[in-house]
Amino acid sequence: MDAYWESTIVSNVTVKQDGDQVEITINGRFDFNILQEFRNAYAEATAPGLMYSIDLAQTEYIDSSALGMLLNMKNHLGVDDNSITIKNCQPNLMKIFTIAHFDKKFNFN
């Protein structure tokens, strides 16, 4: 059967800074349950000129609260459109970003 929806996924957020590159990795479900963790991840690294990337390779699910959280991040950091890159986005999640027109608000690779 469809294990994707059946599995109880333990989500977590990890952050790693290397020079001016900040990488946030999200494991499991990207929704309001990791709100605090996600906010801590970028709130800790706010020096000007930093480049942020959000690695979704291990992310299995996003919902609209995740979209809100991404916008919050952008507003909080006050950075321009090119400073945040979403990478390794799986096709199923990309579909959701596209429907939300997020493909025009963030960099994807």
Binding site: M1, D2, A3, Y4, W5, E6, S7, F32, L35, Q36, R39, A57, Q58, E60, Y61, I62, D63, S64, S65, L67, G68, M69, L71, N72, N75, H76, N88, Q90, P91, N92, L93, K95, I96, T98, I99, A100, H101
Partner: protein, 560 residues
């Protein structure tokens, strides 16, 4: 032991009889060759024949020839000539007739006994050998029969492959009758192509066994249009249960889009795949990111996969390690380096280039492992008629599902996940199950958060409010005593097939118009905007307590 003593002189017979009976043997007597042959026919179980040469009626030489002719199969009946003759010619005649030994008269008793003992030992050995041979023959024919059955099963099981498809070229060469490599292909529901290449630990029958369930479920999974990552997950789970710990399956699973302009690829433990440019040169290397199938536990398994775009003329080549580890007569490996050297500008048929280099390299060295090479080319996928017929979507039934959640259930269960595990299993919903999941999650959180818990999404305008909103959500949820959410889901015909979702909550309703008109850059209200974008109809009824929407099922193209 039973002895046949043949002599025309009764004294001679008597002496031998006495000698042998003294040792506990049984003796049958014959007075000439003809009687000896008749006695043997009556007693073919007799163990040793002691034969005089010169006798009336039939001599010992002729009698021996006739008896030896009557001996069947591997049985050894020693004939020892006891003769007064001692010229070479006579003795060699004795042997030519089939005799096994001779002793000149007058004979020494000890020598006679020694000769008898030696021949009896040989007879015992050949008897045992005959028994073992018989068992071996039986075993061999049983094994042959079983091998035929198994071979038949494998051939039938692997017939599920596409009959003909221009996008797919392959070379499959097992090292023995049974192949531990497996290559499968199937059409996808959207008109694309699935390819599975697997390599089980070892080779031969043991390695082959695992290919059977894989072949069977590949067909089922591709019919359900699962992603390559999900197929990998299912195979991993199945092999984990089935195979002993030391066995697993390195594999590559690929889906080519119907236009042939992109691939989704999952590699677990197989050598790197190569993306070849239109001119034949190496453009990109696709590395294995995963463990082979049958090792990882479900909870550790990553369903992620790579997506590569394919321009016109580009192709992807992947293979099992039988190729890079193919040996030449000196025992050197073919290596990935030599494979990469095959990809040079001007080489139009990469698979053919690799094959001719391989042949040149290995010469006639023995092939030690199964070798499989697959090339998938860009360009629209053209399927043979019988294959494209097989993917016609089944006619879907119209059905309904209804559940009423109580306050307790709202607090303790995951209704969206549960419902999605049912919906996600429906073939016609599968291609859009992520969007449907999002849809359901959105309207469920609206019903719960705004309808029942009475939270205002305006709180989410600021970043701190966003936090506060979700803290408040938890507080109010903990205190919730009485509430219901009714969820009704139906597949309906409304000119086209739609998934109709109606959700009603016991709350006071909310000002949905605020949300519907919210700004694009606000961090709230996004959910409903999403609904509007993918649904053909969204209606709020009963002051916002009830939402009723239609999601057109067949909107793959629109969403892609």
């Amino acid at each position: 032991m039973q002895f046949l003593v043949v002599d025309d002189q009764s004294t001679n017979r008597a002496i031998l009889k006495w000698l042998l009976e003294e040792d506990g043997h049984e003796v049958i007597e014959a007075v000439d060759g003809a009687e000896a042959v008749a006695a043997y026919e009556r007693n073919s179980e007799c163990d040793v024949i002691l034969m005089d040469v010169m006798m009336p009626v039939m001599d010992g030489i002729e009698a021996t020839r006739q008896i030896k002719n009557r001996v069947s199969g591997d049985v050894y009946i020693p004939v020892i000539f006891l003769t007064a003759l001692d010229d070479d010619e006579a003795l060699s005649k004795c042997l030519a007739s089939g005799g096994d030994d001779f002793l000149s008269k007058p004979y020494n008793e000890a020598v006679l006994k020694a000769k008898i003992a030696a021949h009896v030992r040989i007879r015992e050995l050949t008897k045992q050998l005959a028994i073992q041979n018989k068992a071996l023959t039986l075993h061999n024919s049983r094994w042959q029969r079983e091998q035929n059955i198994v071979q038949h099963i494998f051939t039938t099981a692997l017939q599920h492959n596409l009959s003909e498809c221009g996008s797919l070229k392959s070379y499959v060469s097992p090292a023995s009758t049974f192949n531990g490599d497996i290559l499968l292909s199937a059409p996808s529901a959207s008109g694309g192509l699935y390819v599975f290449l697997g390599d089980f630990t070892g080779h031969g029958l043991g390695a082959s066994i695992g290919t059977l369930p894989i072949a069977h479920s590949f067909e089922q999974l591709t019919r359900r249009h699962m992603s390559v990552g999900e197929i990998a997950f299912e195979f991993n789970r199945m092999l984990n249960i089935m195979l002993p710990d030391y066995m697993f399956c390195a594999a590559t699973i690929l889906e080519l889009s119907s236009k042939g302009d992109s691939i989704q690829i999952w590699i677990g433990g197989l050598p790197d795949g190569y993306l070849i440019a239109a001119d034949g040169s190496l453009k990109d290397t696709i590395k294995s990111q995963n463990m082979p199938l049958g090792i990882e536990r479900d909870s550790d398994f990553k369903k992620g996969f790579e997506v590569k775009n394919l321009a016109k003329g580009e192709r992807v080549l992947f293979f099992t390690d039988g190729l890079d580890e193919a040996e030449n007569p000196e025992g050197e490996f073919f290596t990935e380096e030599r494979i990469r050297d095959c990809f040079h500008p001007g080489c139009e048929n990469s698979l053919q280039c690799v094959l001719s280099r391989l042949k040149e390299f290995t010469q006639d060295a023995e092939q030690r492992d199964d070798i499989s090479i697959v090339e998938v080319s860009s360009g629209e996928v053209q399927l043979a008629r019988q294959d494209s017929n097989s993917i016609k979507p089944p006619v879907a039934l119209n059905w309904e599902l209804h559940t009423r959640l109580t306050a307790e259930e709202i607090k303790t269960t995951q209704p969206v996940e549960e419902i999605m595990s049912i919906l996600g299993a429906q073939t016609i919903l599968r291609p859009n199950k992520d969007v449907i999941g999002l849809l359901l999650a959105e309207i469920y959180s609206n019903a719960l958060e705004h309808g029942i818990l009475g939270l205002s999404s305006k709180l989410k305008k600021s970043e701190d409010g966003f936090m506060e909103y979700y803290q408040e959500r938890q507080n109010r949820l903990d205190k919730l005593n009485e509430a219901t959410i009714d969820i009704q889901i139906a597949i309906m015909d409304k000119g086209q097939k739609v998934l109709n979702i109606r959700m009603q909550d016991s709350g006071k309703g909310f000002e949905h118009s605020d949300i519907l008109n919210s700004d694009q850059d606000d961090s709230f209200g996004r959910g409903i905007t999403l609904l509007k974008r993918v649904c053909s109809r969204v209606d709020y009824l009963e002051g916002g307590c009830c939402i009723d929407l239609d999601f057109p099922i067949d909107q793959t193209a629109h969403l892609a």
